[in-house]
Amino acid sequence: MKKSLKLTDIARGEDTQLTEINPDELIPLPPPYDKVEELPGFKRLTEEQRERLVCNLDGVVSYAALPKPGNKQEEKKYVEQFVSGLKKLLSKENNWTFLQPLLLSIDYCARCQTCNDACPIYLASDLNDLYRPTYRSEIFRLLVNKYVRPGGKLRAKLSGSDIELNWTTISRLYELSYRCNLCRRCAQSCPMGVDNALITRELRKLFSQELGWAPKELHEKGTVLQLEVGSPTGMRPNVAIDNLHFLDEEFTETTGIEVSTTWDKEGADILLIHSAGDIIAFPESPISFSILCNAAGISWTLSSEVGGYDGVNYGLFYDDIQLARVAIRHAQIAKKLGVKKIVMGECGHQHKAFMTVADRLLTGDLDIPRESVMTFLENLVFSGKIEFDPSKNDFPVTLHDPCNIVRNLGIVEPQRRILNYLCPQFREMTPHGVDNYCCGGGGGFSVMSDVNFTDWKVHVAGRMKFKQVIEAFDGQPGPEVKKYICAPCLNCKMQFRDLLDYYGAREKSGIICGGLAELIVNAMVDMKKPFIGWEER
C-alpha cells in the first residue's frame, strides 16, 4: 500500500492507482472479526474491468459510467469544463447557495491537520494519506487558486505544489469526492471553522452541475427517478399504495392488530413522509407508524403524489438544483393536501435537507411547519395515549446517531428519552451524540453499490462504526443473546445491513438492526405477539 502521498501525485501516473486497499492493513476489529483470513476477501477489479473502467485512485470504482476521453481534444474539453465549473462555484449567480461557506473554507485553512484525527475513514484506513479530509480539499484549494484567481499560475509555480489539471487529476478527484461520508466530523473539530466536508460536497456539485457526472444511484436512479416516477426505488404511486395495502393486511394477520394506512386525506393534521425504501427493505418501519398513529388517534396521512411518499432527497449529497427540486416538490404536496405540518420519516438526510438546508428555498406558502420524527415519537410515547410494557424490550439495545439528525440538526435527546424508558438494557456507543461516528453509509454511500464500491463501504467507510457496535455489546458477545442496533434512518439501516451481512454478525454475535418505531410498537401492551422478528432480518 502506498501511504505517503504528495499533493502533486494526484496529477501524475495517468492510469496507475494512487493506493491499494488491503484489509490486513486497516485498523483491527475486535474478536471474532479480527481474523482477516476468515472474512470474505476484498473484491478486486478484473483485468477486463481495469481496461474498461476508470480505476486510477484506489482500485475501487463507484461510478462505472465515468467517461474516458478518447483523445487529447476530449481531455481538453473535460479540463475546460472543470475550470468553468470552478469559476461557477465561486460566482454569486451560480452558487449563492454556498458561496460564503465555501470561500471561508477555501481561504482560511491553517493547514494544521487537526481535522484528520476526526475522520472515521482516515482512521479506519490506518492513516492512509489519500483519505485525509485535507488531501482532497487542499488540492481543490490549489486548483481554485491556480485556475480562478489572478496571477494563479505564477503563484502555483512559487507554491511548490503546482498541480496540473489533466484527465488524471479530474478523474481521481471525481472518485475521491466519493470517499467522504460528508459526516462533518472534520468540520466539527476545526478550530478555524473550516469545513472540508463542504468542499467535498462542492466538488461533487461541480461534477454534477457542470459535467453531468454523478453516481447513477444518486442522480439517474435517484433524484431524477424520484421526480419522474415518485421514488428512487422505482415505485410508482399505485405500486406504493398496493405494497402498503398488502403490508397492512399481512401485519393485521400476524400481529392481531388492525393495521391501516391513510392515503391522501385532505386537511389531515400531519403529512408523514417515509423513505419509500423502508416499504421494501424494512416494512416493519412504515407499519409501526401506522400502528402508532392509529393507536394514538392522530389525524395523519401519506401522500400518493409523485414524490410525496418518498422523503429521501439525494440532492443533499451532490447537487443543489436537485435538492431544491425535491424539497419544493414535497412542500407543494403538503400545501395541496392542506396539512398542518409535515413529519419526517426515520431518515437522516431527509431531516437535514428538508428541515434546514432547504429552509431558505421554501418561501411564501411553501414554508409549512416541519417536525422531526424524534420529537413526534417522543410526544406520542409520553402522551399517555398508548400503554407500554418496557419488559417486552428486555434485550441489549444500542443507539446509532444518524449524523444528519444529530451532528447536523442537534436532535440528540428525544430518542434517548424514549429508549431509556422503553429499553431496560439500553447502552450507548462510545463516542455518541454529536461526536458519533458515521455508519459509513453517509453522503449517499448506503445506496451506492456500483462495481466493487460495497466492498470499500464495509471495509473502510463502516469500519469504525462496526467496531463501535461490537464494543457496545462487549460482555455479551455470543449469538445466544439477541442484540438490537436502533438506527432511526433508512440509509444507516441499509449500511448496517451490509455490514452485518458481510461480517456475519447476525450469526456470530446475534446482532440485528432496525428503527426506533419498531421498538416502540414492540413494547405496546396491546401487541400480543413480539413485533420484532429476530429471524427474518
Binding site: Q81, T97, P191, H219, S304, R325, V357, I411
Partner: protein
C-alpha cells in the same frame, strides 16, 4: 531616515486597515446562503450535549431567545487561549500558542506605545521614575508587552519551523510561503529582542519614536531600533497577503455558518427572492441554462400525473 520611518509606519497602518476592511466588506456583502449549521451550536441552552431547538415538539410555536454574547465570548477566548487546539492537537498548540501570543502582545505593545506617546504629549513623563502613576504604568506595560512578545514570538516561530519540518504530515501541507512567514516573524521578533537587549533596554527610543510619530516631529533612533521598526512596518504591509485575517473570519465562519440556525425573516426572504430570480448557467444536461433558479427548481415534469 527618521522621516522615512514615520512615513513608512503611517503607510503600513493605513494599508493594513484598508486592506483588511476591503476583505471584510467583501465577506459581509456575500449573498445569504443555505443553512449549514453544525452542532453543538453554542447559543443553544442545551448546547453542552449538542441539542438544538428542534428537540422541542412543534418548536415553531415557541419563542426563541438567541444571544450572540456566548458565541462572541467563546471566540474571543479562543483567539487568546486556543483551547480547541489545546484539546485536539496538543503538540501543535505547544508551538502555535507562543507564536500567536507573540503577535497579540506585539499588537498590544504598539497600542500601548501609541497611548503612552499621547500621555507623553500631554506632558506626563513615561519612565520607571515618573512621578505619575500613569507614567510608571505605561512604562512597565510597554516593557512587559514588548519583551514577552519578542521572546514568545521567537520561541513560537522557531517551534513552528521545527514542527512543520519534522512532522511528515504537516510537512506535506506546508508551503514555501509558510516557511517564509515563520522566518520573517522570527526575524521581526529577534530584531525587537536585539534592539531591546543591546540598544534600548527601557524602550526609551521606541517611546520617543512614537511621540515623534504623533507630533510629526521625527527623532533619530539607533539602527537596531530602526531595523525593527522597518521590519514591523513591512510585516503589516505583508499581512493582508497571508491568511492572517482568520482572526476575524473565524467569527463569520462560526457565527454566520456553523452556529447560524436562524429561520427566515422578512428581510432575508426579500434577498432570497432576488437570488432565486437570478438566471443559472450551469451546463449539465439536467439544468436548463438561462432560466432562473426559481423556475428550474419548481418546474413540473411530464410524468407527474397520478395513475
Amino acid at each position: 531616515m527618521s522621516f522615512f520611518l514615520i512615513a513608512l509606519t503611517y503607510f503600513a497602518y493605513v494599508f493594513i486597515v484598508v486592506m483588511y476592511a476591503v476583505k471584510v466588506v467583501k465577506i459581509v456583502r456575500m449573498p445569504v446562503h443555505l443553512r449549514w449549521e453544525l452542532y453543538p451550536v453554542i447559543h443553544e441552552p442545551k448546547s453542552d450535549y449538542g441539542s438544538s431547538y428542534y428537540e422541542d415538539f412543534e418548536q415553531w410555536k415557541k419563542n426563541r431567545r438567541k444571544t450572540l454574547r456566548k458565541g462572541i465570548f467563546f471566540l474571543l477566548r479562543e483567539n487568546f487561549c486556543f483551547s480547541e487546539y489545546f484539546k485536539r492537537n496538543r503538540g501543535y498548540w505547544l508551538v502555535l500558542f507562543p507564536w500567536h501570543i507573540g503577535f497579540i502582545l506585539i499588537v498590544i505593545f504598539h497600542i500601548v506605545c501609541f497611548f503612552g506617546a499621547l500621555v507623553m504629549v500631554a506632558g506626563v513623563s513615561v519612565s520607571a521614575e515618573s512621578t505619575f502613576i500613569l507614567g510608571r504604568t505605561f512604562y512597565y506595560l510597554i516593557l512587559l508587552t514588548g519583551v514577552i512578545s519578542f521572546v514568545t514570538g521567537s520561541i513560537g516561530s522557531i517551534g513552528l519551523l521545527i514542527k512543520r519540518l519534522s512532522d511528515k504530515d504537516l510537512r506535506a501541507f506546508t508551503t514555501p510561503q509558510n516557511y517564509f512567514n515563520y522566518l520573517f516573524t522570527l526575524v521581526i521578533f529577534l530584531s525587537g529582542l536585539y534592539a531591546w537587549y543591546f540598544v534600548d533596554p527601557t524602550f526609551s527610543e521606541y517611546r520617543g519614536f512614537w511621540k515623534g510619530l504623533i507630533t510629526l516631529s521625527p527623532v533619530p533612533v539607533d539602527y537596531a531600533a530602526a531595523a525593527h521598526i522597518i521590519l514591523f512596518a513591512l510585516f503589516l504591509i505583508y499581512l493582508p497577503f497571508t491568511r492572517s485575517l482568520h482572526y476575524i473570519t473565524k467569527f463569520f465562519a462560526y457565527l454566520w455558518i456553523r452556529w447560524n440556525d436562524a429561520p427566515k425573516d422578512k428581510k432575508m426572504v426579500e434577498e432570497l427572492n432576488g437570488l432565486l430570480d437570478q438566471p443559472v448557467s450551469w451546463s449539465a444536461p439536467h439544468i436548463p441554462s438561462g432560466r432562473t433558479w426559481a423556475e428550474i427548481a419548481s418546474e413540473k415534469t411530464s410524468d407527474e400525473e397520478k395513475p
